[in-house]
């Protein structure tokens, strides 16, 4: 459905592109391109979720990396076509000012049924994304409660509806305040920045994993440490291209969580112990998956 709307947009729009809109290849220079890349990082939020389906997919060692690659290629093609069509139809400065750039670009074609259809499609798409937004949130929440890093009371489940109402109310309050206080550009920048910071930690973890597994014959990281280092570098470049306010907000969140952690650790009345053993399995599985992914990538490299 969402893809159909984008295909409709590209299908109608691509023949009505005004080439003069492409006369300047990069009106805001290299920093403009990098900042755009930083913002668009938001669009790739969902790919991590595929990796968590490991147990539910048949032959997951082979199919999971494959499906991530295919999904990535398909979405890149769709994003690029949509972006080209939109910027070809309408001046990019007008698009940049708009909160609904696809509708803005479709208006140029003069067909108002099409504008309505595209806007409607975007409404359905955003509504469905919004509804699934909480799934990822609860997953990490559960993982943190399991390691005793979150208060159990936050994960308390309502007996009537079977939903974790404390965490949902907490999330809903923060969400509503953010919607009220910030605009689209700010929220996108902050999300991209925070996710890039998380990816920084993931790349660091990958380097650590390699060091821990140095004596293991099972685990291999191809081109180590080039890939995680490139990952670190690209995260830092994209982060530095994002507006300063996103730095400040992320720094505040990091500082607040650090204080929270230290407060809980030092308070005498808690059982704040890290149950390393409980999640020992996770590392083993992780190593296993990484190992299989490595084999798959090597095979893929050979075949090309």
């Amino acid at each position: 459905m969402k893809i159909a709307i984008l295909c409709l947009f590209v299908g109608f729009g691509i023949f009505q592109i005004y080439p003069q809109n492409f006369s300047q290849s990069s009106p805001n220079g290299l920093s403009g391109i990098l900042q755009g890349a930083g913002f668009i990082f938001f669009a790739y939020l969902g790919f991590g979720r595929i990796a968590t389906l490991g147990e539910e997919v048949k032959n997951s060692e082979r199919n999971l990396p494959l499906s991530i690659l295919i999904a990535l290629i398909v979405s890149i093609v769709i994003y690029v076509l949509t972006g080209l069509t939109a910027t070809g139809l309408q001046d990019c400065r007008i698009l940049a000012q708009s909160g609904s750039p696809l509708a803005e670009a479709a208006k140029v074609m003069g067909n108002f049924t099409l504008v309505a259809a595209i806007s409607f499609g975007v409404l359905i798409a955003t509504a469905s994304v919004l509804l699934t937004n909480l799934i990822g949130l609860s997953r990490v929440g559960f993982a943190m409660t399991r390691n005793d890093q979150l208060l159990k009371s936050i994960a308390k489940v309502s007996s009537k509806f079977g939903t974790p109402y404390v965490s949902i109310l907490l999330m809903g309050t923060i969400l509503t305040i953010l919607v009220f206080a910030l605009d689209l550009k700010q929220t996108t920048a902050i999300t991209s920045f925070a996710i890039l910071s998380v990816h920084l930690a993931v790349n660091l973890s990958a380097i650590r994993l390699r060091k821990k597994m140095l004596n293991s014959t099972k685990f291999r990281a191809p081109f180590y440490p080039i890939i995680p280092s490139l990952g670190l570098l690209s995260c830092i470049i994209l982060m530095s291209s994002l507006p300063q306010e996103s730095w400040i907000v992320a720094a505040v969140v990091v500082a607040m969580s650090a204080i929270l952690y230290l407060l809980r650790k030092n308070s005498p009345t808690n059982s704040f112990t890290y149950t390393k053993n409980a999640s020992h399995c996770t590392t083993k599985k992780l190593i296993h998956i990484t190992h299989k992914a490595t084999i798959y990538f090597k095979r893929a490299q050979k075949s090309t």
Binding site: L45, G48, T52, S98, G99, S100, A103, S119, T126, A127, V129, L130, L131, N133, L134, L137, V140, G141, F142, A143, M144, N147, S158, F161, G162, T163, I168, L169, G172, I174, L175, T176, L178, V179, F180, L182, D183, L184, T187, T191, A194, V198, H199, L204, S205, A206, R208, A250, V253, V254, M256, S257, A258, L260, Y261, C281, T282, T283, K285, L286
Partner: protein
């Protein structure tokens, strides 16, 4: 609890491979990012909503969308489906 064993993603990696402290910070940052993403999507939704129905204001639609999401999740999305 078994079913959530390896669903922590980045949080789990940082917890295991860097330190529990790093894990906690990464987990908080990640959850925060998801909530801000929700705000961004609500605002994006509202932008397109007002192109179809220009009578409404952007912030009102976005706040209503955020409240509706919270309400739906409180009731449980699965409870509402037949």
């Amino acid at each position: 609890m078994q079913q959530f064993q390896k669903k922590g993603g980045a949080y789990e990696f940082a917890f295991e491979l860097i330190s529990p402290f790093a894990g906690f910070v990464v987990g908080c940052l990640w959850m925060f990012a998801q909530i801000v993403a929700g705000a961004a999507i609500s605002l994006g939704f509202a932008s397109y909503f007002i192109t179809i129905f220009p009578a409404f204001s952007l912030k009102t639609v976005a706040v209503v969308a955020a409240l509706a999401l919270t309400g739906l999740n409180l009731l449980g999305i699965n409870n509402l489906l037949p």
